[in-house]
Symmetry: C2
């Protein structure tokens, strides 16, 4: 079986967009970081619930300060001090000022706050105000941060630390977020053995299972590990069925050789309700990639990834991780996900027209790396990391990748390229 | 107590750099994503353990193909086929070719592989090779990916999916990674109540505790939640001591008013072996920030964060999160951590000389957001998100921040600025 249905990378992403998002589930606020809201959240109350001071100072009636200056200060009588955690029990009478701390609730009658810097003691029980304040100066009004009934956060909104804090302030202790996808991770191949086992001559350890599980976790999914499957039709069928039962998405890697690849394609095609959506995608590395839809309803996505760890990881970064984020409410965009930095190519790259290539590069500039790209300073240079197909060390030595478009024969030395750090 | 020891943001970072990294601990490979190595990892064996084919084809002696062309192909006799998972039991004799799948181990005697595309059947038991191959063509040699004894990954290396895969391939099932810091999260203030409780008039819910816990998790730390502490010297002292016992780092927020701030500073200063390293930092928002070192040995860092949730979060993003990453082996760099995009300011910003300001901005361009900045397309515009001090909604409406340097009076409308997305 050759690639009967090779599609473009963008076409592959369109196929992925056809899979609907997962359902929502209740998530406690403290577990909601990085999740996306499955529905809109509305405020159930005003925030703040009453007018609060934003400074240390004196709550006043603004009109009592009109015209005040250093030369002719306004003289105000001291009212009782406002304390934190209570609403003042008194009403501020005209001509009075109540000491108030930052965050304190204004007493009835007060409509502005004079900063402590502009008030001076003026004998017993009085202060002089040397600057006028206008209505609501230094006051956060009731409902100014959020109004009861108002839509606060829309569906799909990513919950960062600030959203968590905002929701906490509003008493929202639980949110409805998109469920995390469970992803079955299957490594196949007669030569593959678990990491803990000493390989006999001719055998290799399962790199894909662990790398893919890490990538799935990074994308918010829950990996479900399956035992390694030999290149055997019946064993593949059994495992794929169990994987479909256990997970929302299946990621099976293997099939570096044509024979093993055919076996995997046949096994996917033979699954209940199976439809092979793509058999081959025009990227390098990673061409021998398969996408199937299996099972009832909207269907489970089955990714058949190459057996080569390098190819498997690139395909997973370009398609699988963004897809998992899509299932959780994120906009779907071709990966890899990562910061981008502008760089100059250190050597020219040759590329094949008709294939979108992902070239691993090392950045040369001391202060740039996966940990943080900074906008200041000179443009770093991107050095392609060469190495034979299947060399995992090339991925490890790379800081990121350069994407060479399908229609390009290559990129010239010195060309300005965006590098995706991952 | 006013700010006796206001320092610059960069000075604050230098103080943080004085705290040593945490110790290393053994971490299983599947839990090591995002962690950093506490020590160098060396390969215990060669990868691959023998020469492997990188293509589907025929293992040959390269010299047998020299001079081969379409017109005058090299005729080779078929040797037994190589199967996956075993090392061929035969030695390849001169003039022979052994069918080999991608990933298969070469038989003894073979030193190159002819791609299947350049080999044609030539009667029973023979093939014709139409292209010469040189030594090691299409072969990944023993130890070419990693050599036994070679240092693979250095101390401090961040473990991404690719490093996990590489280590798995080498049989490394466990690594020594920097320990995650335990961070005690304490909210203080007479007015603060837990999120689950209905605030009485004058009370507010604890936004800081939840937002900070989320930020700590995001930075790889483990938040340890403490009960809310009232503005009371004895209660603060008790809680801070318990927090120091329970955690590596203490982050206490509160003290929006001068009075509460003084209480907190005194409480920190009174801790055993306490040294107040900074009392006030020249940033806005967030000036009333305190840094202490307490306890024996290298000491625990105690962050006294402002009570205003907006200020507390900005300070935590600028200093606390990078500090937690530093404890785990990352280079220490002032935050916030996040992708940077170049943007044009939509309106001019006024700023105070002597304060580094963090201005929240909203980006206007459909395809840019926290989920992913793309290098292609036009420059987005950055719209400052205005709002009174303490409005959490300003953080929620913002896509990122613009950092206005200490020595700037402001930034002009249209100025090119890097926006840190978070």
């Amino acid at each position: 079986m050759e690639f009967f249905n090779v599609i473009t990378p963008d076409g592959f992403v369109e196929l992925l967009a056809g899979f609907p998002r997962l359902a929502g589930e209740a998530v406690p606020l403290d577990g909601a970081l990085g999740r996306r809201l499955a529905g809109e959240v509305a405020a159930r109350e005003d925030l703040p619930e009453g007018a609060r001071s934003t400074v240390d100072g004196y709550a006043v009636r603004a009109e009592d300060t009109f015209g005040a200056s250093d030369a002719i200060p306004a003289l105000l009588k001291l009212a009782p001090a406002v304390t934190m955690g209570t609403v003042p029990g008194f009403k501020l009478a005209p001509g009075h000022a109540a000491p108030i701390p930052t965050g304190g609730f204004l007493p009835q009658g007060a409509d502005a706050v004079v900063m402590v810097e502009y008030a001076n003691p003026a004998g017993a029980g009085a202060i002089e105000v040397s600057r006028p304040v206008t209505l609501r100066t230094n006051v956060l009004g009731r409902g100014e941060d959020a109004r009861a009934g108002e839509a606060l956060l829309g569906a799909g909104k990513l919950l960062r630390a600030q959203e968590i804090g905002f929701l906490a302030a509003l008493g929202v202790a639980e949110v409805e977020a998109f469920r995390r996808p469970r992803v079955a991770i299957v490594s196949s191949g007669d030569e593959v053995v678990p990491v803990g086992r000493e390989p006999r001559p001719g055998q290799v350890r399962d790199a894909n299972g662990h790398a893919l599980a890490a990538l799935v976790r990074d994308a918010g999914g829950e990996p479900v590990a399956f035992d390694i499957v030999p290149d055997d039709a019946a064993a593949l069928d059994r495992t794929l069925r169990a994987a479909l039962d256990a997970a929302d998405v299946v990621a099976i890697s293997g099939g570096s050789s044509v024979g093993a690849r055919d076996l995997m394609a046949s096994a996917v095609a033979a699954l209940p309700g199976a439809e092979v959506l793509a058999h081959g995608v025009a990227i390098r590395p990673g061409k021998p990639t398969l996408l199937g839809r299996c099972g009832g309803g909207a269907g489970h996505a089955v990714f058949g990834l190459p057996g080569h760890p390098v190819s498997a990881l690139v395909v997973a970064q370009v398609f699988l991780a963004p897809f998992l984020r899509h299932l959780q409410g994120a906009p779907l965009r071709k990966g890899p996900e990562g910061r981008e930095v502008a760089a100059a190519l250190a050597s020219s790259l040759h590329s094949t027209i008709g294939l979108e290539e992902y070239v691993r590069v090392r950045l040369e500039r001391a202060d740039v790396g996966p940990g943080g790209a900074r906008g200041d300073g000179e443009t770093p240079t991107a050095h392609p990391v060469w190495g034979k197909s299947g060399m995992l060390s090339t991925l490890v030595r790379a800081d990121g990748v350069v994407r060479v478009p399908m229609n390009a024969e290559g990129l010239a030395r010195g060309a300005a390229v965006p590098v995706i750090l991952y």
